[in-house]
Symmetry: C2
Subunit: 408 residues, 2 copies
């Protein structure tokens, strides 16, 4: 006889709407009569192997709705990337607790975890339904039009650049804003949606999909500064040279500094202002421009409370709900994907885990301008509906100039 136990967990970097998906799973699964318990694992897969579960069946729907509207991962998250042995441990815990449905909300790594756990259950002949629920501000999952979490982060980046552009217009100089995204430039490209008038910034956008050449960068900045008397630049933290070395570590090495690397040998790109500072130093030194300022958007772009796309909220809720429906009415494991069906509407489908797991999407060529430092109208058309309603807008004075008296 089935136990009717469900487990849900959240993995990887938090987003503004990941709790919508969590609450979508909880509320939808509580509608099914055979579901006896809805467990949540604390801090993702680590909470599973440590058996740290909370009983979400004993949470009010009212508080769940309030948590849904709160950014970051309410269950806690983890950066653990399970290998086969780790996944086998996960499976053993699920079996011990008689879990029959496992929902994991996360990015590429999380989808790979779900795939391995699913395979382990199949090998053991244990009836476990495993569903991956997409989440990432990087928008780098294959098979989906876009991923929940990306639209809200994109909205933050667009609003940040719209404001930084106004600030830079008031006090002209060069402004460098560094945006998250190690391999995919979608979030950095979202800066273009903060632009309204033709001479607005960001004037230059540097994406990890294109090789970064320092000399060309300096030439681009110089030309823009000469044209507009100012220059606003959006830079992905993941920009790299032709050999693939991150510019952050390359410039740091030039000035004799080290950069932090994680267990996978990846250079630490977030939580440091080094790249922005190093690029600013280059511009000051090589171009002789005095007012050069750099900001690193850091954790604000994924966790700032109060900047969210309502479209993103709705879709994040729905991928959670659909995950439960696919699990209950379908007969296979998989990864929930968003398909665009209109301008603007979406539907959801369940992709085989092997189609998504561990794969990385980067920006399509049709989204990047020929210059390599701007986006195309195709990208604007793609992104704008995702940003949702009530986007703030910037207006200018248009008043006529007054004739000079002293120095006409």
């Amino acid at each position: 006889m089935p136990s009717g136990k469900i487990l849900v967990a959240q993995g990887g970097g938090p987003t503004a709407v990941i709790n919508q998906s969590l609450v979508g799973v909880v509320l939808e699964s509580r509608r099914f009569q055979h579901v006896t318990r809805v467990y949540g694992a604390l801090h993702g897969v680590r909470g599973i192997i440590n058996e740290e579960f909370v009983d979400l069946t004993q949470e009010t729907s009212h508080n769940l709705e309030l948590v849904a509207a709160t950014p970051s991962s309410a269950l806690g998250s983890t950066r653990d990337k399970p290998d086969i042995a780790y996944c086998q441990q996960i499976f053993e815990v699920l079996r011990a607790h008689e879990i029959e449905h496992f929902f994991y909300i996360g990015g590429n790594d999380s989808s790979d975890t779900v795939r391995i756990v699913s395979e382990e259950a199949h090998k053991a002949g244990y009836p476990l339904r495993c569903i991956h629920i997409p989440k990432t501000i990087d928008n780098d999952l294959v098979g989906s039009d876009h991923t929940p979490g990306f639209p809200s982060a994109a909205r933050f980046v667009a609003q940040a650049f719209a404001g930084a552009n106004l600030d830079n217009a008031a006090l002209p100089g060069v402004y460098v804003g560094v945006v998250m995204g190690r391999h995919a430039g979608f979030l950095t490209a979202a800066s273009a949606l903060g632009k309204k008038f033709p001479d607005d910034g960001p004037h230059l956008i540097y994406l990890p999909e294109r090789v970064f050449v320092l000399e060309q960068f300096l030439a681009d900045v110089k030309a823009t500064y000469e044209k507009y008397g100012r220059c606003v630049i959006a830079v992905s933290e993941g920009i790299h040279d032709a050999s693939g070395e991150p510019i952050a570590s390359l410039l740091a090495r030039q000035v004799g500094n080290e950069v932090e690397r994680d267990a996978h040998g990846n250079v630490q790109l977030s939580g440091t202002g080094a790249l922005a500072d190093l690029l600013c130093d280059e511009i000051k030194a090589k171009l002789g421009i005095k007012r050069v300022r750099g900001d690193t958007f850091g954790y604000l772009q994924r966790s700032f409370i109060g900047c969210v796309s309502d479209v993103d909220q709705r879709e994040a809720r729905e991928v959670g709900e659909k995950a439960v429906q696919f699990a209950m009415w379908g007969d296979r494991d998989g990864s929930v994907a968003i398909k665009r069906t209109g301008f603007y509407s979406v539907d959801y489908e369940l992709l085989p885990l092997t189609e998504v797991a561990g794969k990385t999407r980067t920006m399509e060529d049709e989204f990047i301008s020929a210059s390599g430092t701007d986006v195309t109208d195709a990208f604007r058309l793609y992104l704008r509906p995702l940003l949702g309603s009530g986007m703030p807008d910037a207006f200018r004075l248009r008043a006529a100039k007054v004739a000079k008296v002293l120095k006409p």
Copy 2:
């Protein structure tokens, strides 16, 4: 016969609501029949000496309202700090254009400019009415309960820390957020308003009103990290040692780097992530904590479009309107000040320029806790009404823990 010409300009760092004050001046002055022209100077005092004026009489009230809701200085701004000779030049241009009312929206430096121009006009026997309209995110003008621009920036900082705290709770570690404010800690202290539950961050707040001792800082962080398994820290960019040397330049010197100084010898504190990075390096090296992340809020905190206090918007509009009314119905120059008259209501008065000009307010002792790393309830009571309506709120799951099966 009077010319009926008015001039308005914006100086110093932009804010989210400085255009409200501009539009308050323009719309209110257009109501007076004897006013023939309302000029705006481009880029503050520099636009005045260069005679770069636009005629705001020829701007629609509709577009003015839209500009009012747009952050940053619509007329452009400047960092010029006029000396006596510069102010004399300003006065000569005003006289040449037959300006009879001069409104300057800005901080302490701007109020000092207004004071000198007022004195020059008086000496020359030229009938010029000079009014300073307060604006600064630093909240460091004396004589006012608070300054327009501060509440919206404070709201951004509170929302940023509310989000950063949620992020840090999901993926525990140490988080350092660096906030603007060279001498006054009001904006950094606003981080405390992002805190809801007792174990929420920011757990530690470092203000320029207190001497920063690195060893004590490290001890504070260690104790907090041991207590909560994580630590969220708000740091003012202006923290300094007992001798007054900024910690940013002190730490930079230790690792052999230089810091940029402006014409006044001030160390560049904004537009660089150096302080956050240096503090993070200290924590990693001395406390052996692995996950240490630093963000510098940079220009986002004053220019982010879409994060504004409605109270701030209303008051910024009113100081502009009142400036015109004081000029038209009163018979003296001065600086508009906000007085708190209820919980929560305000009224406005005109202070003598000498009472405000060039002076700097810092946080009152009653606002800082005895530990020196937190704010008092008096500060929370002071700041909360200023943040306005619709502040986003963070909610938590409260679900019951599930008993372990494998390792009970």
